[in-house]
């Protein structure tokens, strides 16, 4: 029986009503009296020396308030990077300065060179056209391997070369791994590209800066997944504004997918310019600007090798990856190909020896950073592709080969530094096999063939690491931030609650699901719980939402704070009921004395806390408000098994997804409807990567896919209905809700099954095709078949 409220119920989302009636409050909906508009003049060159930026003619144009160039930001800090990776020799990564506006050189198409603040956006744009740029073009480096060659143009003249770091993991395993390859009965090798993507949340980025001269307070409204992080990075490292003078608000945010984690120049600019111009300053990105200024995702080139013994057991895994950083280090860029990628290389398998090498490279392209999954899709893709290729080379069933090598005992310490707490990979594979009617596949293939089509079935597994933590460990790994979360629960006198959470909702439905948890704990109606997020002036502290961490980390902080509330409320209740505290039970919103019919309602206790007439004032303070910070002791490890069935038109190479099934283990689930929706969205993005999406540059660093005309977003008729199941549940053992995180799974788990399916289809027609790089566009598939 589905529940009608609390944990486990598919409660309808309360936030939907405002979104469905057009009264949401997105950043671009905010207009402050007297605001001026910014237009950024961006580089159309990938690499060049700035000789001069002449703004004299533009400054006299109608409506111009002020024009800024790189020189205005010389005394301002660099846009900071939040993660410092140490390379295989123990040296820290090369870290270039990242100016708010380009100074001295431009390093990628889209880099802002000047900013015009004017009365209207049109006037700002007109004036920007009158700015005279004198830039000498330099050779651009775009290809990563070329960028590392001696004599390659340097993206940053003050660095030694274009190598950000050369990371080995685990360096101590290298010799033993190499030896295992020497001894292997079979080695499967695969070279592949994990294609560069643009996250493309439908809401483009927006920043509105405001400054109150009377109180010296700055406010930034911004499209962010983590306003407190922006407050810290921008305040402390760029503009030198203390937290108590800087408020950052991220109201309704129209999707993030990682790209709204990072601190961007435009945010710092609008905050700075609001003070300099003494009026609110607003910037709204156009979609065209988004393509050249939002951090991109993925862009890895990898060689992976899998060693097997004579019984088809995996004995070792070795990878070499080139990871594109773009022209500057975006906020969490260095962590993505390293700690979010190398630690996942064991996947679902008990491979005893693993060595991962990653070379991170600067190029004259837009910075690359986390995009839905961040490192984990790259790990999963190469691993699940090489396992599939091995099965085909050995002539064994791909599912059987996976099952044979599954980790089955937990906790399990991998050779790549993480310990999986729980999981049951056979269970999700069993579930998947029951969903996909594998026995009927031959008949479906025959049917397709009758219609002149090829049909393929691809299966893969994935393991994910969510809720990256604990803070002291990630600090050792180079994180320049803590990765806890905070929550404050404020109970009002009449019994309603406000939860101020550091998690941020930009589509995930926290306002609904978080309320379900608190309501269940107290036994009250969900509508008595209000969730507040996204404003540093309301929420004490927050690390934000990314890495599928909200419920596992933010939700845990909320549970801890609510437990403190309940403990204090029990003390009050014991006083009111004249019973000992140990005998007080809370059930269905009432406190009772165990074994008696004496009880007092939740609302009477909360009222007593604020009108403390009959109250143990000598023991406890009035009021009912508690804060908790939760720092997890480990990651969580969702896992699953996915299957994709495709049809390929041999005449055109066009791939159609016929069926897609996902069996996930997310541990306990609060709102199944929301979880299913998260999986659907992730699947669409993963299938988009596999079939459609590609961010491509020409050799001069010009972005070829700079609009929705050239960058193929998945549309409704590109996708099927999905078959999604999350009934396999091995609860996380170390957080209070037993939850694991579901936001990224779909995007992580789906690309390999699509490619595996297409390879299966082509091989069924006798084609000697072992791999095609994503996206599997008709021309690529057709070419592979020839």
């Amino acid at each position: 029986m589905p529940k009608d409220g609390g944990i486990g119920a598919s409660s309808k989302r309360r936030e939907d009503v405002r979104f469905l009636t057009g009264v949401g409050n997105y950043t671009d909906d905010i207009n402050i009296h007297g605001q001026a508009y910014v237009f950024f003049l961006r580089s159309d060159m990938a690499h060049g020396t700035i000789n001069s930026v002449d703004t004299s003619a533009a400054a006299g144009m109608p409506g111009v308030v002020q024009i800024f160039t790189g020189a205005d930001f010389e005394a301002v800090g660099s846009i900071p990077c939040g993660w410092q990776v140490t390379d295989k020799h123990g040296e820290v990564m090369q870290e270039p300065r990242h100016p708010v506006l380009a100074h001295g050189k431009v390093r990628h198409v889209g880099e802002p060179i000047a900013a015009v603040v004017a009365e209207t956006l049109e006037q700002a744009r007109d004036a920007a056209e009158a700015i005279e740029l004198d830039i000498s073009e330099l050779p651009a480096v775009v290809d990563m391997k070329e960028a590392l060659k001696d004599g390659a143009a340097k993206v940053h003249d003050d660095l030694n070369n274009n190598l950000c770091y050369d990371w080995g993991f685990v360096e101590e395993n290298k010799a033993a791994t190499d030896a295992a390859f020497e001894a292997a009965a079979h080695v499967t090798t695969l070279e592949l590209v994990n294609n560069r993507l643009v996250a493309n949340p439908m809401e483009p980025r927006v920043a509105v800066g405001e400054y109150a001269r009377g109180t010296d307070e700055h406010t930034l409204y911004t499209t962010s997944q983590n306003p407190h992080v922006i407050r810290l990075l921008m305040g402390a490292f760029v503009l030198g504004i203390p937290e108590h003078k800087l408020r950052v608000v991220a109201p309704d945010v129209g999707g993030g997918f990682g790209t709204k984690i990072f601190h961007y120049q435009e945010e710092a600019f609008c905050t700075f310019a609001a003070k300099a111009c003494n009026r609110p300053v607003k910037w709204t990105s156009s979609r065209s600007e988004a393509f050249v200024s939002d951090a991109h995702g993925r862009d890895h080139v990898t060689k992976i090798e899998l060693a097997l013994d004579g019984d088809n057991n995996f004995t070792a895994l070795r990878t070499e990856t080139y990871a594109n950083m773009g022209a500057y280090l975006s906020t969490f860029a260095p962590s993505v190909p390293t700690w979010l990628h190398g630690t996942l290389m064991a996947g679902n398998y008990k491979t005893p020896l693993i060595y991962v090498n990653v070379k991170a490279v600067f190029t004259n392209t837009v910075p690359v950073d986390a995009y839905r999954g961040a490192g984990r899709p790259e790990a999963t893709f190469q691993l699940e592709r090489v396992v599939d290729k091995a099965a085909r080379e050995l002539g064994v069933d791909p599912v059987a080969l996976r099952r044979q090598n599954f980790i089955t005992e937990f906790p399990y310490a991998t050779p790549v530094a993480v310990e999986y707490d729980t999981g049951d990979y056979h269970a999700t594979m069993d579930k998947l096999e029951s969903m996909i009617d594998r026995d009927g596949f031959a008949a479906r293939r025959a049917e397709s063939e009758k219609n002149g089509k090829l049909r393929g079935l691809g299966v893969n597994c994935y393991i994910e690491a969510c809720g990256i933590a604990p803070s002291n460990l990630v600090g050792q790994l180079g994180a320049r931030a803590g990765l806890y979360e905070s929550a404050t629960v404020r109970v009002n006198a009449t019994g309603g609650l406000v939860v101020m959470t550091g998690s941020h909702s930009h589509g995930q439905g926290h306002e609904t699901s978080f309320a379900q948890v608190v309501a269940e704990m107290i036994g009250i109606d969900e509508n008595m719980v209000e969730i507040v997020h996204g404003d540093t002036s309301k929420v004490p502290m927050g690390m934000g939402t990314y890495g599928s961490r909200s419920l596992a980390v933010g939700g845990s902080a909320m549970v801890r704070a609510t437990e403190k509330i309940i403990n204090k409320a029990k003390k009050i209740a014991s006083h009111l009921l004249e019973a000992s505290e140990g005998d007080i039970e809370l059930k269905d919103g009432a406190f009772s004395v165990a074994g008696t019919d004496k009880s007092v309602a939740w609302g009477d206790v909360t009222l007593a806390a604020y009108v403390p007439h009959n109250y143990p004032l000598e023991d406890i303070e009035p009021g009912l408000e508690e804060t908790a910070f939760y720092d997890p002791s480990n990651f969580t490890y969702p896992s699953g098994a996915y299957a994709c069935e495709v049809e390929v038109d041999p005449e055109t190479g066009k791939v159609t997804i016929e069926r897609f099934a996902a069996a996930d283990d997310f541990g306990n689930i609060v709102n199944p409807m929301i979880v299913t929706g998260q999986v659907h969205g992730g699947l669409a993005q993963g299938i988009g990567q596999a079939l459609l999406e590609n961010c491509s540059y020409d050799e001069n660093g010009q972005l070829l896919s700079a609009s929705y005309m050239d960058y193929a977003m998945p549309r409704a008729d590109d996708l099927p209905m999905f078959d999604v199941d999350h009934s396999c549940q091995t609860p996380c053992t170390h957080n209070p809700l037993g939850v694991k995180g579901c936001g990224e799974a779909g995007a992580i788990g789906s690309p390999p099954s699509v490619v595996n399916a297409v390879v299966d289809a082509l091989q069924s027609a006798g084609k000697d095709v072992t791999h095609i790089d994503m996206p599997l566009s008709p021309d690529r598939v057709w070419a592979a078949m020839q």
Partner: protein, 161 residues
């Protein structure tokens, strides 16, 4: 600057616009009807769909001046007179057809236009019709389901909660 007059959600609305002012800007910036969203600059995403004289239009591709004298409907005018969600809006909530909500106004307005012309669309027809509306969050599954439910069709057989 020229003056434009139109009816928006049943009420008279007017304002001074430049020749280049788009209907989407006029609605958002002058009338403060910020429910109509702008997600692209190449007329691809459909976040900006409104109805002009009963026809679904991407308001980012129409000049405000072209809508002079027209009857315009936006997302803000879609709820029932008592403020409750209309059938389409309710179906989107019931079937979790939205996540971040940014594409949603355009989806709802497109759905209304679709169902006017095709009261019982098939799944394939719904997907084909949505060609001009991009959603990055939902994977479309629940949007398609919501639209079919809004048209009175039984969606119980479609997988998932």
């Amino acid at each position: 600057m020229t003056q434009v007059n139109m009816t928006v959600n049943g009420k008279a609305a007017s304002g001074d616009v430049e020749g280049r002012t788009l209907l989407s800007s006029f609605l958002r910036d002058q009338l403060k009807l910020t429910g109509t969203h702008v997600g692209c600059d190449t007329s691809q995403c459909g976040a900006c769909v409104v109805h002009v004289d009963g026809v679904a239009v991407k308001s980012c591709t129409m000049l405000a001046a072209e809508a002079d004298g027209a009857d315009v409907a936006t997302i803000e005018g879609q709820a029932n007179p008592d403020g409750s969600l209309n059938v389409i809006q309710q179906a989107f909530q019931d079937h979790h057809g939205l996540q971040c909500g940014f594409c949603t106004p355009g989806m709802v307005m497109s759905t209304a236009a679709l169902l006017k012309g095709n009261p019982k669309p098939s799944e394939a027809e719904v997907r084909a019709y949505l060609e001009g509306n991009i959603c990055r969050c939902t994977g479309y599954h629940n949007i398609v389901k919501a639209i079919m439910a809004a048209s009175g069709q039984d969606v119980g057989a479609i997988a998932a909660e």
